[in-house]
Symmetry: C2
Subunit: 574 residues, 2 copies
Amino acid sequence: MSTRRHNREQAQAYLDTLKGHPFPSSEKIYLTGSRDDIRVGMRQVQLTPSVIGGSRDHPVTRDNDAIPVYDTAGPYSDPDSELDVRKGLVPLRRRWILERDDTEALPQASSDYTQQRLADAGFDHLRFEHLPKPRRAREGRNVSQMHYARRGIITPEMEYVAIRENLGRERIRNEILTRAHPGQSFGANLPEAITPEFVRSEVAAGRAIIPANINHPEAEPMIIGRNFLVKVNANIGNSSVSSSIEEEVEKLVWSCRWGADTVMDLSTGRHIHETREWIIRNSPVPIGTVPIYQALEKVNGIAEELTWPIFRDTLIEQAEQGVDYFTIHAGVLLRYVPMTAERVTGIVSRGGSIMAKWCLAHHKESFLYTHFEEICAICSRYDVALSLGDGMRPGSIADANDRAQFAELQTLGELTQVAWRHEVQTIIEGPGHVPMHLVKVNMEKQLEACFEAPFYTLGPQITDIAPGYDHFTSGIGAAMIGWYGCAMLCYVTPKEHLGLPDKEDVKQGLIAYKIAAHAADIAKGHPGAQIRDNALSLARFEFRWEDQFNLALDPGTARAYHDASLPQESAKVA
Amino acid sequence: MSTRRHNREQAQAYLDTLKGHPFPSSEKIYLTGSRDDIRVGMRQVQLTPSVIGGSRDHPVTRDNDAIPVYDTAGPYSDPDSELDVRKGLVPLRRRWILERDDTEALPQASSDYTQQRLADAGFDHLRFEHLPKPRRAREGRNVSQMHYARRGIITPEMEYVAIRENLGRERIRNEILTRAHPGQSFGANLPEAITPEFVRSEVAAGRAIIPANINHPEAEPMIIGRNFLVKVNANIGNSSVSSSIEEEVEKLVWSCRWGADTVMDLSTGRHIHETREWIIRNSPVPIGTVPIYQALEKVNGIAEELTWPIFRDTLIEQAEQGVDYFTIHAGVLLRYVPMTAERVTGIVSRGGSIMAKWCLAHHKESFLYTHFEEICAICSRYDVALSLGDGMRPGSIADANDRAQFAELQTLGELTQVAWRHEVQTIIEGPGHVPMHLVKVNMEKQLEACFEAPFYTLGPQITDIAPGYDHFTSGIGAAMIGWYGCAMLCYVTPKEHLGLPDKEDVKQGLIAYKIAAHAADIAKGHPGAQIRDNALSLARFEFRWEDQFNLALDPGTARAYHDASLPQESAKVA
């Protein structure tokens, strides 16, 4: 059997037998909010008792608090959930959306492309069967979380987020566990307990976003902002050379299991539309895309032939499927392109180079920039957040922090204010490749240029000499920029620069980035972040091996490494 | 076959077939100093030409400079070297030592233990056959590099080091390759070119050491100091439960191949003496040990029964074998022990807990502290450097930067001055587990308390929640503290806290730490550090895949990851 077919069949088998699958010694708990349908799932790691005296035969023990852990896996970590990828997840936000009474179900998709695609029986075998009817804001209405926040409305999404960020940690009473170093937050505001009102005020100010397209009611609300837990994003997506829908859905589930707070579907191959439908319907986390990738496929890869109508239709197509945030490279201005001429690695952002090519060919500003207000207007009707792409990001440490990069950042700041006028939630993308000592100034300039809109960076990689290990070279930069104030870290896998990540690469990238994000939370002094470290360290000191494994980011690997040296059961309780 | 026997046989086969083995597309070159026998080996990566014009059939090309790379592998990366682990390496420093005419060959080993061991035919089958005669400084003489340096003498070792640190990079002319960001050095003094006189002055000032026991003439001189390239150490060593001499020698060779600047032999199992002999005779890098580990074996693991005479004999035993630096936990004072009572993880340093137990049992200061002057006197007669151990280092981020840790650091500063009075080269060990925002103050306090003696840290790990990935959690801290001024980073492998590292773990630990050290060099602004990054980035931009692989820290992995997605040859030249 060919490798491709084999991979596809393996993915199919994985999905066919998919069950809610908790981590070892963990239970899924739900904390309920002010109404019954605000049920916030989290994971709780059960610990064994500590021996505090007595004899070997009659030990005296003390129970240990269960440790709550943020859980991105949604129903996939709940053994009681009924899962069927053909049906998709339960739309937990549907009632909230309907109650607001500011949207309408459309008789059919508004995108021409979607309609053509649906009419083509040739795709029937690929299609997700239970297509929901798309919704859109009623004429003249804005349905973004920022819109509500600015009007003083605390949505169920905001309350959900507040509960989620607190993790129910007020129940931890053991003084050893709650010890924490005062952090160094560089101006982040980290209250002891997150209230729904705090969430609202941060979203209103633009300092945080809750990506929550009304057409993706399956997603569990989460927040991205400097004053909340640092988040991580995983990129998945097929390409023209490999991978199937099954494999991408498998990677999605796998990403959520290993801690992805959001997932970007960067598909560039065939069946992008259908692949995305499967991904969104089965995703408990927000989904981001780079719409220009799909638009480019529609013009057969010829950047110069891109047009605003094609792009606009793509935005609507994706917004009605439920994409939660769009990366838009609207900051690539014509006059910035020559600034990259002296670089070692030119323009490496795919979106950036597409737009640079377009600008040069037409010798004018791109339609992303000239039609930016219309883009915002579309986003506001579905609550699609904007992630302003950094088309000029450095592709090597040599090119870090150069004129092109920072010129674009200024433009992203201007665009942020345009987006905010439309009450569109906005985050800003950042580099890339930056040596350690130049990381901090990136954060400082971004906060200033973009008025504290959340920063969302790829790494940055802090050296270029280790292809094959760029999850690590970039994880170092990610930990640092997370500490300095970056709100979300876009992971890099070991295959970066070399090939497409497989399932194991996705896991390795996520583990590296969960470490970076958590280390950043601790260094900032995020309340409660140190509890898990303390619990694990105490278990280590008391030789509670099982608890060490179960509290680890990757319990199976910790256990396997231990057992490779000392496999006996006795070696785990000694 | 049992796993242990299998591992041992595999190691034996590896050693039996050992040949000088260059990295792909690399050649071993030697730069000669002021005398013919100063021949400094380094690796040079050959690149393919760049296509700068012409047509597909008649391309116009430009040659690319070969890129010099620091090489720790010694003869193991030279296809022309004759290798036989039963004979050991060529003693390249022997003439230099003899010429100084301040040492004498001893008729027999001075250590009682060594003599007993040699007299016991039961160990004959384990013994390294070609035992050299041990040498020692003539009565009243001091043979340390610091001693020579303070007298204004530039030794061949110092000249060797200067050539090695410069890497012959003045031959790189391409402006794109020599571009570099100004660094942020936090007071490090990084001259454009390292002269032998600069090396001498740094060693004289105690700001750098050249570990170079006169009984380890096989080792290639290298330097550890804040004003030089950041170095990494790999720990190997057997334990009572596993591993054989063959496996440890294999790990040594493997460590040098993957970039270990020094190797510590932390053996605690059987045949420590014989294992160490094999390691030293075959090591092109300095070897460090923790002598208290072996002393403890001599008293059957009962810390309270340790005595100064046993320890003293162990120092002499090891010094005459050729150990280049000793970790001595002389800073664990009686009054510091109670300071650890409130910690989450108490005392986690093995040496620290042995000495704490001893101090408490005898209720007095340890013999390491009370006999410290004698320890220095021994070291000065062989040029064994001292690595002052941090017995109070934190074992969890909760315990970082506490009173016990910093109290001991002050004592290490006092001991540094004692060692320097004896002209014994000295470095200072440091933590451990420290959250990111508390890393910098460790470096600052160490520089102040220890008068700029080089710092040598284990990580630090910046979170405790990822056992199985602690090469990474600690690699982040290592990169940061290297940037702040740490001179050598002691690696951590993925098995840290879980089990004993195997060969693959050693490699993974080293790759992580080479990344950290290199990233630190770049952030400090070390001249020339960015050349390799620029060369690799330029190769990437020009789609010279082979050059990207060959310039990578781990060429085989980079190539394999690429080929997993795009195996065709054409995909590497497109």
